[in-house]
């Protein structure tokens, strides 16, 4: 209902009961009192009419023989009627003949009154009933009697009725209130308990509670049962969902453990292989160099050229093994997180990289960089790889320009390394970070194809992402994210 404020259903029911019973009772009482009062008014009229008739009959001789004293005497009998305030008898001509008044002063009696023969009329004013009646004798009109009655009795009764109606109403409303409190136990309480249960369910997400069931078979009971069934179904589904979730979690854990084990095996395998490959490689390298230097006089130039190639290959293989060991090391190594001043680190690494290739004209633009949390050794390794990569692929450029900075990308802080080198075809971007994957010929750019794989592994170990944007001959940009310092 629009007009009613959000009272509880219990209050609404109480109000409804009280209003309905109050209205019904008030109507009934008013009808009864109204009927009684109308009836009493008629009784008053009849009584006054009878009195007028008696007075009239008794005044006939007084009027006929012009004896006002006798008429006054007759009128004075009205003293027995307490409601009569005043009365008067008039002659047929309408002149006052005899007057009676309760207070003895004759107030309120008009000097003249004529009533048509054989008639009687009455008139109610706010506090009086005035009745005039013709006095007839032998078919002749010989005078008029006029009686003026106050309505004390009527007003008293009206007051009494009002009091009774008020008392009955008050008592009934009290009874209605008490009874409705009793009956609310059967109606409102289950609804309120249901509402409370619903509140608990929605607030605490607790599906194990149940609304108390009533013994009745009414709509509320149906509602409660349906509600409880619904809760039961939700609870079942919840349990099933939880079980499925747990199952999934366990299976993920299992798989992860398996994968980790396999990964570890693979890493130690790589490490052992790489490590074990080094010893024979050293021998090959050592003897090949010895052959080139010690037996240079005995070997013809063709053989010397072959030996040089063996030496170059062994050196490259050694580099490759070193890189692979580094990559494996990244996987195996424990992380030691520390705050890192990224700008300082980048400047150090840039200096180091620049020193490794003297004679190159390189312009470094190192912007503002944040302080991040990470393993300093690994981050340094990643930066080293990225910067040497940039230096390597800008070798045809003079000057080579390398930018290091940060930018915002979708609200996320991204660190980038941009160069003006040869770039690459974005078609092959997905291969960029794979081990041994190379987008350029070895003849053009030296490399083992392990560096970017190492960088990706380090960034991933720091929960970051790395990707690249490039265009052929227009430079490449490597972008990565690092968790900010906690």
């Amino acid at each position: 209902m629009p007009g009613i404020r959000p009272y509880s259903i219990r209050q609404k029911l109480t109000w409804m009961n009280m209003l309905v019973s109050g209205a019904a009772l008030l109507l009934a009482c008013m009808a009864l009192a109204g009927y009684e009062l109308a009836d009493f008014r008629q009784t008053l009229e009849r009584r006054l009419s009878t009195q007028a008739q008696i007075v009239g009959t008794s005044s006939v001789t007084a009027l006929l023989f012009n004896d006002p004293a006798a008429a006054r005497n007759t009128l004075s009998a009205l003293r027995a009627a307490p409601n009569v305030m005043s009365a008067a008898i008039y002659t047929a001509a309408g002149v006052v003949f005899a007057v009676y008044s309760r207070d003895g002063r004759g107030g309120g009696v008009p000097g003249q009154a004529v009533t048509p023969a054989g008639t009687e009329e009455h008139r109610f004013t706010s506090d009086q009933l005035i009745l005039t009646r013709a006095i007839g004798f032998q078919g002749k009109n010989i005078g008029t009697v006029r009686i003026q009655s106050d309505l004390h009795e009527f007003n008293d009764r009206l007051l009494r009725y009002t009091g009774i109606v008020g008392m009955v109403l008050a008592a009934s409303l009290l009874a209605a209130f008490l009874l409705s409190s009793v009956f609310q136990k059967a109606t409102a309480r289950p609804i309120m308990q249901l509402a409370e249960t619903a509140r608990v369910v929605s607030r605490e997400k607790k599906y194990s509670v149940r609304a108390p069931v009533t013994g009745n078979a009414d709509e509320i009971a149906v509602l409660i049962t349906a509600f409880n069934e619904m809760l039961e179904q939700i609870q079942e589904r919840d349990t099933a969902l939880q079980a499925a979730h747990n199952e999934l979690e366990a299976s993920v854990e299992r798989r992860t453990a398996q994968l980790e084990a396999v990964n570890r095996e693979l890493e130690s395998f790589t490490y052992s292989v790489a490590h074990d490959l080094r010893a024979p490689l050293r021998h090959i390298q050592g003897f090949a160099e010895a052959l080139r230097e010690d037996c240079a006089n005995t070997l013809d130039p063709t053989a010397l050229g072959y030996v040089s190639r063996v030496v170059d290959s062994t050196r490259r293989m050694d580099q490759l093994i070193n890189d692979l060991l580094g990559l494996a090391q990244v996987g195996r190594q424990e992380m030691h997180f520390r705050p890192i001043e990224l700008k300082n680190l980048v400047e150090d690494v840039a200096r180091e990289v620049a020193e490794e290739c003297p004679g190159r004209n390189i312009q470094w633009h190192i912007g503002e960089l944040p302080v991040v949390d990470g393993d300093p050794g690994l981050i340094q390794l990643a930066l080293y790889n990225l910067l040497s990569n940039a230096v390597k692929y800008t070798s045809p450029r003079d000057p080579a320009i390398i930018d290091v900075g940060t930018k915002r990308d979708d609200g996320e802080r991204v660190i980038f390394v941009r160069d003006n080198g040869v770039g690459f075809n974005m078609k092959y971007a997905h291969k960029l970070f794979g081990v041994f994957e190379r987008l350029h010929r070895r003849e053009d750019f030296e490399g083992t194809g392990v560096g970017l794989a190492t960088v990706q592994r380090i960034i991933h170990k720091h929960s970051g992402r790395i990707w690249a944007e490039a265009e052929i001959d227009r430079g490449a940009t490597f972008l990565f994210t690092l968790e900010p310092r906690a």
Binding site: S58, V60, T61, A62, L64, F65, N66, D67, A70, N73, A93, F137, Q138
Partner: protein, 190 residues
Amino acid sequence: MARLPLAAHNGPSACALAVALVISLALFAAGLSAQTAKPTEYEVEAEYLSNFGRFVEWPATPAGESFHVCVLGQDPFGAMLDAALKGQSIGDAPMAAKRVATPEEAAGCRILFISASKSAQLQAILTALAPMNLLTVSDVSDFTKRGGMIQFLPEGDRVRFEINLSAAQKAGLTLSSELLRVATTVRREP
């Protein structure tokens, strides 16, 4: 009311005053005319004579006969009595006036007014009337003391009467208590 427009331009209160003045003058004039129209003593007495019959229990009047109200001696009422009785009846008998010269002539009467002109012979007349059950009325002084039944007593501008109840009872007439109530005196012993 034709004079009202004179006061009209003086505003409503002056107008009301004028109306009140005219009305009170009219009432005063009406009062004067009512006083001048006041009935004479004999008119009243004639009226009383026409009413007395209603408050007496009469023996039945034979069918076809009138209820006679008679005047013995010099008639002071004249046409006034006839006028008062005109159209009136007691029971089925119409009332009628009758002038008689002697008590004997009054044999058929029900009410007999004895004129003051007969006051000298009053005792003889009453004696003569004694066997007849008729109601005697007179304005002769001491009428009731001397055995008459109803005696008119002019009192200011009113006319009252006194009753000798035992005289009426002797004549076999029962007077209504209503009538006795308005009498100045009711004599119960002869």
